[in-house]
Symmetry: C2
Subunit: 239 residues, 2 copies
Amino acid sequence: MRENKYLTIYNDLLLKIRQGILKANEKLPSENELVQQYQTSRETIRKALNLLSEHGYIQKIKGKGSIVLDVSKYDFPVSGLVSFKELAQKMKKPSKTIVCELDLVKPDEYLKKHLHVTNKDEVWKVIRAREIEGEKIILDKDFFNKKFVPSLTREICEDSIYEYIENELKLKISFAKKEIFVDKATDEDDQYLDLEGYNHIVVVKNFVYLDDASLFQYTESRHRLDKFRFVDFARRSHQ
Amino acid sequence: MRENKYLTIYNDLLLKIRQGILKANEKLPSENELVQQYQTSRETIRKALNLLSEHGYIQKIKGKGSIVLDVSKYDFPVSGLVSFKELAQKMKKPSKTIVCELDLVKPDEYLKKHLHVTNKDEVWKVIRAREIEGEKIILDKDFFNKKFVPSLTREICEDSIYEYIENELKLKISFAKKEIFVDKATDEDDQYLDLEGYNHIVVVKNFVYLDDASLFQYTESRHRLDKFRFVDFARRSHQ
DNA sequence: AAGTGGTCTAGACCACACG
DNA sequence: GTGTGGTCTAGACCACTTC
């Protein structure tokens, strides 16, 4: 057994919720009962329950107990953030990635500021169009510091760069900042996408940080207005 | 002293980061050192550090230590989600709220489904336009179950309903689900907002749940395209 | 080998909900 | 009062980084 005990318990409880063994709107066993069931300490049970809570599967109420939330009514996965692209993949809609540009470039002023690189650094610039159900509706512009990603090929780009980075290069992505706003469509958008007359674009900027807190990727994802969708599930913080 | 020990430590460390006593890109004292400094147990220190980490102020690295992240480079507050409206308030831009409608209505099919109410329930329907720097750019449509919010006045609506609910009614909001997408502007949008020719609208749907996991508010916030902005800071989850 | 953060334990006391 | 979840403690062992 190599998995954490609290993650094992988390996954076990999650399975029971998904299978309906633990029913929505009903109470979970108390923490002390779970201590007995899983033969562990209370803090470990609490770690598992807090994870379930943070991910929106249960609600803990002081003095009463923990309630299983109704997961089925979410039309999207509950935890985290979901883009149209991810949804299309989940729905198994036919999709395709077209690599428009793949270059090693000198950073311009904007990139120098946002990627924290200097004139001496080189930066991978990747532009890809995402075609879903026959329409090119998303334009992804990615920029990586060459220091972190030495080589990159068209094949990797057609697949998932993200998987390549995590699985092959073993770089660990730890957190990201997102900005969403609407912008006028550029000539580049028009060139690579099927804009269908829409002259505005939803822009999702993404700043990705590694485990050691260094910024290594800047991404701009440009979505046609009518095909943009974003879901967030937020637990209110302390205070 | 009534505040939690770990929250006290969290706030103290946060203050030191903000004041530059703990500098960006430098290491925090180790957990064992903090145990000494604050005369507490390691788990308590870890609770405080985990909060700082979740809120994006530090980065913990196994075997090495915790690094203070550079907060100053975020043009928006780091933790959680920030809308244009909140930003305008932070920037102290002149803003005004116009209550367009305030009614007790029977729920239609859509509301019955999303607010989990029946024909017997009554629902508060509040429509407000938000004017910022002289332009009406956001239309907020709120729906509350009358069961939770018995009375509501124009004055409360012109102020913050949210504050009224938390401070006066003592209802505790625990989590919310957001959906963002772009829709065609309706006649209602046109009637209440200064659309300036934009015929699309960014829609932010908000489902708000109380402490006991009951859904009590459904909100739709409709933003003029050019004035929409949304920031998210997401830590990657386990797994 | 020494120091770091990550996990886990077995207790303790508290605040809250409910009958 | 009993049971619940929330906080806190003082230890322990582990995996990882650095020397």
